[in-house]
């Protein structure tokens, strides 16, 4: 049995030790410790708290905690102590409460110490006898956490920007490889169209937009849709966006990437795109050395613009696409040019062969018969035939050479027309007369339907006659014996229409479009049955077009004949009046009026001014034979004197004279009053036959301009037309009175 006193001693010893441990803890602990009784009166207030709060234990032991710190009640923290008295433990979060007792964190700090607090019941033998509160200073921890928080946030941000940079780099890499693929694929294409389609497909695959459109610029700067992805090709291919219009035009003008969203600028292309729900466009120009090759634009159904990366990508694509397109285009145009050159060369070779053959054929006949004649072994009758053959062949060759010269002039642009108002009917008649022997020889019937009064056309009479003659010879050449050639001249609205129809071999439909081309004949084979250079129709077309007219060929097919229709615009009424003087002159000339027929200048007083005596004599002779009274003057001054004295009906003057020329003379004459002779009708005679010379003469006051050397008949016609005009003017003048 143990010794009781020893037990008591032991108990006392343990109690003393506990007390020592408790005191040590009280003095050295780095936590706050508050112990209260069941009335919350302070029983223990440890050293840590004394130091931090500057409240001494001896001053507050036995005082209620809620009296020492009344704010615990207002902060509703008292309930945690009451809960502890009911047996519940609580941990107070520094985040929610910051602290239990307000204590500065350090002497320098304004901020109070952050506290983590645990409030628990103090139990003894199953009974709650008070509360125990432990306070930890967590200020440092809280600061540490805040720093950590900031660091973590920074790191997160850094990671984010790092990953963004990595993503961007990866995206750029992917783009680059896409770019390479698109370029490579485009490069692999031979035809320009395939190149363009590869490009739009590639762009659509990468940017994933609703549409990608590629437009190419033409010579005028219009943009034409050449490739599209995202819409049916048929809907947009070939749509033309005029220069400077629509979105594409804008991009081409600005020469830089552009975007539009919402309402697209009006253009035929944008209308289609809008119909397909496109609401935004971004585009870049395709440039080669600052020359706009075309435009690529992408369409989106959302209202947005491409981001910078996409635009950059599109630009890169554009730069490369321009090179690829340029390469494909030069390859293609080179191919076309080569083919064209080859074709032209072939035609020229063919033509030269034809020329050589055609020129030799008449020469053969000429040379052959000439030798026979030289040999002297042929009789009189055969000799006559020989000369006839030689003449015919020489004429044929002359015609060939004329044609060649015409073509040469056409090619070099030197073919000029001497335009004046011309009635076509007499010219057609003349051409008919010229071909009649040839038609007769083949037994071909020539029938006509020629309206005489169809109105004048502005034309060169020689060339119009040549046109008709060429068409007629062509018709006769290709019409078999006993066939028919029909010619008509009619007014068709504001046109004069000349039609030449034959019952000949006709024209194959496939050759119709080329019938007026140079160096082409429907049959270019060696065994062709028709002679000729095949230039006639080319010359016809060129001459007709020089006249502002048109020529068409029609044929129902081979062996069914052909119809050629030439249209000339009729001279307008006003213009007709302006050059009325010359119109009647030329028309009369064209009808081949003879000297004798014009013999009626009876009673007419004519003044001729010319410094050349011989010229004067000739004109005087001619005019006097026609019954005119002629006065002459050797200079301008003399001429004006004569006008003052004689008052002639008509004045004819040379232009080139010493001292004062014809222009000066006429200006002085026109300066006179009507009664002094200022309005006498006049004719200029000059060696200068160019249009501007004529204009200058008319401007000086002459009525008619007749080029030298003067054909008597021409001069008579001119005088007669002036006299008629004068009579008409007088009649009107008198009726006006």
């Amino acid at each position: 049995m143990p010794d009781l006193s020893t037990q008591a001693e032991q108990t006392i010893e343990i109690a003393r030790m506990n007390d020592a441990v408790f005191r040590w803890m009280n003095d050295h602990g780095n936590q706050g410790l508050i112990v209260t009784d069941e009335h919350l009166r302070i029983r223990i207030w440890n050293h840590w708290l004394e130091t931090k709060t500057r409240k001494k234990a001896k001053d507050i032991i036995g005082v209620s905690l809620l009296d020492v710190y009344p704010e615990l009640v207002t902060r509703q923290l008292d309930r945690y102590f009451h809960q502890a008295l009911e047996g519940r433990s609580n941990i107070l979060s520094q985040k929610l409460h910051r602290f239990l007792i307000e204590i500065p964190a350090s002497e320098l700090d304004v901020e109070p110490m952050r506290q983590s607090v645990r409030i628990s019941p103090l139990e003894d033998a199953g009974r709650i006898i008070g509360t125990v509160t432990v306070i930890d200073d967590v200020t440092e921890r809280v600061n540490r956490e805040a720093i950590l928080q900031r660091q973590l946030a920074q790191r997160a941000k850094l990671l984010e920007s790092e990953s963004a940079a990595r993503n961007a780099a990866e995206a750029a890499n992917t783009r680059l490889s896409h770019l390479q693929t698109i370029t490579d694929e485009a490069f692999a294409q031979k035809s320009l169209n395939d190149v363009l389609f590869k490009i739009v497909q590639g762009v659509k695959a990468v940017l994933n937009t609703a549409t990608v459109t590629l437009l190419m610029a033409d010579d005028k700067g219009d943009l034409i849709v050449r490739a599209i992805d995202g819409l049916e090709r048929e809907a947009v291919l070939g749509i033309r966006v005029h220069a400077g219009t629509g979105f594409a035009g804008l991009v081409a003008n600005e020469r830089k990437p552009l975007s539009v969203k919402g309402k697209l600028p009006a253009s035929p292309l944008n209308t289609v795109l809008q119909e397909h729900g496109i609401r935004s466009l971004s585009g870049i120009p395709l440039l080669i050395e600052n020359h706009v090759l075309g435009v690529i634009h992408v369409g989106m159904t959302e209202i947005r613009t491409l981001n910078d990366d996409d635009i950059r990508f599109l630009r890169l694509i554009g730069d490369r696409a321009s090179l690829v397109i340029e390469r494909a285009r030069s390859y293609e145009s080179e191919k076309i040019a080569r083919a064209y050159a080859e074709q032209a060369n072939r035609l020229k070779d063919q033509f030269l062969a034809t020329v050589s053959h055609e020129l030799r054929t008449p020469l053969n006949a000429i040379l052959g018969w000439a030798r026979l004649l030289q040999s002297g072994r042929i009789d009189q009758k055969t000799a006559g035939h020989a000369l006839e053959v030689i003449e015919r062949n020489a004429k044929a060759q002359a015609q060939l050479i004329d044609d060649l010269l015409d073509v040469s002039r056409i090619i070099s642009g030197k073919l000029r027309l001497n335009l004046s108002p011309v009635e076509t009917a007499p010219l057609v008649e003349a051409a008919l007369d010229a071909v009649r022997p040839a038609a007769d020889a083949k037994g071909i019937r020539l029938s006509t339907d020629i309206s005489v009064q169809v109105g004048p056309v502005p034309g060169d009479p020689d060339r119009i006659q040549q046109i008709v003659w060429n068409l007629l010879s062509n018709a006769i050449k290709f019409t078999p014996k006993e066939g028919e050639v029909f010619v008509s001249v009619n007014r068709n609205h504001s046109n004069v229409e000349i039609t030449v129809r034959d019952t000949g071999q006709g024209i194959r439909p496939e050759f119709l479009p080329f019938v007026f081309d140079r160096f082409r004949q429907g049959d270019s084979s060696v065994t062709r049955t028709h002679s000729g250079l095949g230039l006639g129709l080319a010359i016809v077309r060129h001459l007709v077009e020089l006249h502002g007219g048109t020529v068409h060929a029609e044929s129902p097919g081979e062996d069914q004949g052909a119809t050629f229709r030439v249209c000339f615009p009729v001279l307008g009424a006003k213009r007709e009046e302006l050059i009325e003087d010359e119109s009647s002159l030329k028309t009369n000339l064209a009808t081949q009026m003879t000297f004798e027929e014009a013999n009626s200048l009876h009673g007419l007083h004519v003044l001729i001014v010319d410094d050349d005596r011989d010229a004067l004599d000739l004109l005087v002779t001619v005019l006097e034979q026609c019954g005119a009274h002629v006065v002459t003057a050797g200079s301008a001054i003399e001429g004006l004197e004569v006008v003052g004295n004689v008052k002639p009906d008509i004045v004819i003057s040379d232009i080139e004279m010493p001292n004062e020329d014809g222009y000066a003379f006429m200006r002085k004459l026109r300066a006179l009053t009507a009664s002094q002779g200022g309005q006498i009708p006049s004719i200029a005679l000059t060696a200068h036959a160019k249009a501007e010379d004529r204009m200058r003469a008319l401007a000086a006051g002459f009525h008619i301009h007749v080029p030298k050397p003067v054909e008597p008949a021409e001069l008579l016609v001119a005088i007669r037309s002036l006299r008629e005009r004068n009579l008409k003017g007088e009649a009107e003048g008198s009726s006006g009175n």
Binding site: G87, S89, Q94, K95, S120, Q149, L152, A153
Partner: protein, 210 residues
């Protein structure tokens, strides 16, 4: 064991009282209106908790655990998924951090919230059912749900029941969902059911003879 409809209703009623108190306490503490409601209560065998809870979160859960003792004894837990726990502390402290991480301070907040909620529930049980309940200091732990359930069932040869109460915190137009779980052994559960039955009877008596 299955609760009758009346018992279930009574239990739900008790939890509603406890949640109302917790909501009031949190509102006072934070200065924001905090509402708690519980749309469902379910009873499971503790060993089968895995099936019902593992759907809640695949990853880590934050749970505040408190042991209670007395005539009715067991473990009380508030369970939040990790993001929910971070969100709840942010809502309660008016702070928002760029990283979704539970630091020491956040854990303290959660511990206190768990303590308030668990104390309120068990306190209501104690007061209303006239049983005294003692509590340990609450602790916060981070685990996967599987680890948590394994820990709950560790080295306990006895059959235990788990009351799983779906818990929804509503703060500042946001809501955070969690579970309140009470794990009781057979004796405690029998005692709880008995006390509930008595409480029902008492209430009915009061209703008949006020």
């Amino acid at each position: 064991m299955v609760l009758t409809e009346r018992q279930n209703d009574a239990l739900t009623e008790l939890i509603n009282i406890a949640f109302a108190r917790t909501g009031a306490a949190l509102s006072e503490l934070t200065g924001h209106r905090v509402l708690l409601d519980s749309p469902s209560v379910a009873l499971h065998l503790a060993s089968e908790l895995d099936n019902s809870l593992s759907r809640f979160v695949p990853g880590e859960v934050a749970w505040i655990h408190q042991v209670f003792h007395g005539p009715v004894a067991g473990d009380a837990l508030l369970l939040l998924n990790y993001e929910g726990a971070v969100h709840l502390t942010e809502l309660l402290t008016d702070e928002s951090s760029d990283n979704s991480r539970l630091d020491e301070s956040a854990r303290e907040v959660l511990t206190e919230v768990g303590n308030i909620l668990l104390n309120a529930c068990l306190g209501v049980f104690g007061n209303v059912l006239h049983v005294h309940v003692g509590f340990s200091v609450p602790r916060l732990r981070l685990d996967t749900i599987q680890d948590l359930i394994a820990w709950l069932n560790r080295s306990r040869g006895e059959l235990r029941y788990a009351l799983v109460i779906f818990t929804r915190f509503q703060i500042k137009d946001s809501q955070v969902n969690g579970y309140l779980v009470l794990v009781l052994n057979m004796d405690s559960f029998d005692r709880l059911v008995k006390e509930i039955d008595e409480w029902i009877e008492e209430n009915e008596r009061k209703t008949i003879n006020p």
